[in-house]
């Protein structure tokens, strides 16, 4: 692939992302699953529990990045398949990877923006201090990337009905929420539970938020970031395979 082609593909991915931001960010599905859900979940499970403000902010940030980034893929792609606009993208002269990167960027940008709101709320209302802002920014960005591509896996299922995708996607996310050290800190988990927690990318996102906000975590923060980046890249593979499958099935 020559330089000109790479430049074109990057520009196309950005075009797809900007279009999706304009078309879908204010749609009820995105607001419900991407914006409202993390805040509802946070208040549902955090109110009346003994928890410091900084700990609460670290938890809220991890949940916001997790829910918001993963909301875009399962909503946007099946919606576009249903109304036929996805064909326009698939027929355009760009690689499938470019299209998927564009879609990943949509969830990533959404998550970065909404977690910015959560961070602002933490700073203003809870007086929280961020100990490692650089690490926090990297954690939010890479966490958003990882969870966005995870959402894309569900969005890539060959269906035209967003409901078919959102149900299993929400189920998985809720499951991950309870095994990833968000509500029960990793250090307080039984060894077996902790072993399972290490399989979830959310564990690493929560840990990196703990490092950035609380100044402490159980895992090396560089490992946290590396796992988030690597899992994000790995989640693209099943998405590509499912898109190829959809082309065979004609969906």
């Amino acid at each position: 692939m020559n330089i000109e082609r790479i430049k074109n593909e990057l520009a196309q991915a950005w075009t797809v992302a900007v279009k999706d931001v304009r078309v879908y960010y204010l749609r009820p599905g995105m607001i419900m699953f991407g914006f409202a859900m993390p805040f509802f979940m946070f208040f549902s499970f955090s109110v009346q529990r003994e928890m410091g403000a900084a700990e609460g902010v670290a938890r809220l940030l991890a949940m916001t990045v997790f829910f918001t980034a993963g909301a875009a893929g399962p909503f946007i792609i099946p919606t576009e398949r249903r109304i036929g606009t996805y064909d326009r993208l698939l027929a355009a002269p760009m690689s499938l990877m470019t299209l998927l990167l564009g879609k990943t960027a949509v969830g990533t940008i959404f998550a970065v923006a909404v977690s910015g709101v959560a961070l602002l709320a933490g700073l203003l209302f809870f007086g929280t201090t961020i100990l490692q802002p650089g690490l926090l920014a990297a954690g939010i960005l890479l966490g958003a990337f990882s969870f966005s591509t995870l959402g894309l896996v569900f969005g890539s299922m060959p269906t035209t009905n967003p409901g078919d995708v959102q149900m299993p996607s929400t189920l998985l996310r809720w499951g991950l929420l309870f095994i990833s050290g968000v509500f029960i800190p990793l250090g307080e988990m039984a060894p077996a539970a902790r072993a399972i927690a290490y399989l979830s990318p959310l564990t690493y996102a929560q840990d990196v938020m703990n490092h950035a906000v609380l100044g402490k975590g159980l895992i090396n923060p560089w490992l946290d970031l590396a796992v988030l980046a690597l899992s994000g890249a790995l989640f693209l593979w099943p998405s590509i395979k499912m898109h190829q499958r959809a082309r065979v099935l004609g969906r």
Binding site: R5, N8, A11, Q12, T15, V16, K19, R22, V23, I83, G84, T85, D87, R88, L89, L90, A91, A92, P93, M94, S95, Q244, R247, V248, L249, G250
Partner: protein, 331 residues
Amino acid sequence: MNNAIEVENLTKYYDKFLAVDHVNFTVKQGEIFGFLGPNGAGKTTTQRMLTTLLTPTEGRILINGHDLARDSYPAKQQIGLVPEESNVYTELTAWDNLMFTASIYRVPRGERAKRAQELLETFGLWEKRAIKAENFSKGMRRRLSIAMAIIHKPSLLFLDEPTPGLDTQSIRAIWKLIRSMNAEGTTVFVTTHQIEEANQLCDRVAIISHGKIAAIDTPERLKANFRRAQSVEVAFEGEMAEKSPGLESMPGVTTQVKVGDKLRLYTDDPSALLPRIVQYAESHALRIVSLNTLGPSLEDVFLEITGGQVGIVTNEIQENNPRRKGMGGRK
């Protein structure tokens, strides 16, 4: 002349269902090629394979010489696709829809606005460029969808059922545009089940039935091969149906069909039948209002090939017959 499309042995199975069955055809550059068939015949499946949206089970597709299975990128750059559903972004304005497509197809930045304006003016949408497409009528969305498909000036344009449900004005405008693009060198591949559309637009037509190409030729040559679908159409003054018994049993008449206030008599030899009808009218004291010989229409050919039988078509279908509208087919 080079081929814009070459299809060899193209086959598509959906699980065990054979949708397209080892199809072979070529489309020459600069041609308007009609892909005609009844619903479920395999038209859209074929077109989706030609536009990379569907992976063939078997076979090879070359678009302007590029093998889609090996490297679809250069082929995609040269293709414009207008799908059956007008897939515009309803939340965006007409202008933004065009700008988005221009950017995706990497139209040079300096040319995007100029081309968008030209297209919006051509399609009568310039005044509505700042209105979101959700407020557009079906015809306006269709026109916008076509404009989006051609903003990068494709050398090969695919249209899937471009006109169903549109008013006559919109249909004529789209036909005019297709002809105009073709005159400028664009190859056009039209998938349709509207026979009149194929008859009016296409240089050549392929008729697909049950996943196989049943016939492929120019509309006129296809019609010429169906001599038995020739007919004589006669209208008598007054209550013709009640006053013309025995016409059906007249020598040379294979089938008689009532078409509105006329009778259509299918025959192998219209010139021999004409004097018999005149003689019949004289002997029954009937006044002939009109008497025409008709060649086989593309509709007759289509029905014959796809399993419908000439002569038992309904009046509703006959209403769409091009020859009744004075648009061709009359000898």
